[in-house]
Subunit: 226 residues, 2 copies
DNA sequence: CAATTACTGATTGTCGACAATGTGGCGCGG
DNA sequence: CCGCGCCACATTGTCGACAATCAGTAATTG
């Protein structure tokens, strides 16, 4: 059995707010007024303030002393930077996996995830596919064996999820995505790190360009970008 | 003139604790008891706890619910991971600078920093040299133009500074360090990114091996590693 | 005598109230 | 009519007190 862990109230508030942000329920630029949210959620202002402050440290919220906190706005350049950094982290992970001889162990899990992904694709469930997609990349990072990398990745992956949620990604073909991932897993199985990195970067760049191209209208929907 | 900004008390406490940790005044494994520290520093327990929680998000402090927080212990593998990630971030920055044609602008600042570094080396001031060394690498990151990278770097650079403080780095020759940095700046000036990356990685690996080799006795001084 | 349970002391988590700070509007003087 | 300064409101920041939880110890029971 899994241990029943009662997270501190503050942590639960943090998780709730973070989920709301990365799922696009709280849009960039939206004000997070302490007194309102505290009453709405049902916690004290101090507890909520801690949560907001924690999210500001994670970079999801912008706070200025004695001013209302807002969900961080995302400029086009922020998106470019985000996907660029993402490529760097994943490329590093792939190279480490191959160099450490962990390729076989990793792909065995990656293939299993691809199978799950295929199931979601057949049901046209975008939310499930996104969730499993993240599992794929999390697995890649974990098998690098670098825990600090995992910490940095977590921060980046959150923002990626947020961007994906905001851009209603008119994902062309869900099955194509599954194929892309399976392809990457195959190349890793062959221990060809550079080929895998190339595929990964191409894949990420494609998605990034797709989103950046339509970003103005997404950002305009909220507060005008900048 | 610079605007006089009165930081909130909580942020000042955070900065004070963070400085104490990265400068080695608070050693890994040391307990951070709320009531004690609050009285000692002269703030309320709530404010101090916020600060401790913030530092736990930065990864400098380990907290378990309803348990005493401690300064995060650093295993040998943590150090290896740290310097490995550091290499990744800086390599990325160098490649971006050269690719974006920012090499000339960057090296002009880097050379100036090297001059300052030389002054510190002549006075055998290790603390000054460390401070200027960080400026060098911060500049490198900043000129990459990627703000998200700067955020991740900040987190990594803090830990690096902590490790350097803890290992009383019997720095062989301070002037040699200056030469190493100047050499890197020169290669960047030639727009040879890969050569610069090679030099940088060699330099970082050397320092990392040096520290890892003697890490057990450093960690043992506090709580036994692990 | 051993294992379990209940208690005690210490520490962290949560809260409501109060102080500090910033913003917008009103009134006054030019 | 315009500009300046003052005032009240809203929001954030800080605090001390109380509740929840944990580790270690002593008492209890088979």
């Amino acid at each position: 059995m899994e241990p029943i862990q009662t997270l501190p109230l503050r942590d639960r508030v943090i998780n709730a707010l973070r989920d709301a942000i990365v799922n696009g329920e709280l849009v960039p630029g939206q004000a997070l007024v302490g007194t309102e949210l505290a009453n709405q959620i049902g916690v004290s202002q101090a507890t909520l303030r801690d949560a907001i402050y924690a999210l500001s440290l994670e970079g999801l919220v912008e706070t200025v002393a004695y001013h209302v906190s807002t969900v961080k706005t995302l400029s086009k350049k922020d998106i470019e930077d985000l996907f660029s950094v993402r490529s760097m982290l994943e490329s590093y992970a792939i190279r480490q996996i191959v160099a450490a001889g962990q390729a076989a162990a990793a792909v065995s899990e990656l293939y299993a995830i691809c199978d799950e992904m295929e199931g979601a694709a057949e049901q046209d469930s975008l939310t499930d596919l996104n969730r499993i997609d993240r599992m794929f990349h999390d697995t890649l990072i974990d098998f690098s064996g670098n825990q600090l990398l995992a910490v940095l990745w977590n921060s980046v992956a959150q923002r990626v999820q947020q961007v994906l949620s905001l851009s209603n990604q008119q994902q062309e073909n869900l099955r194509q995505i599954v194929l892309n991932h399976r392809e990457i897993a195959q190349v890793i199985e062959n221990e060809d790190a550079e080929a895998a990195v190339g595929l990964m970067n191409t894949h990420i760049s494609f998605v990034a360009d797709e989103i950046c191209g339509n970003w103005h209208q997404i950002a305009l929907g909220t507060n005008g970008g900048q």
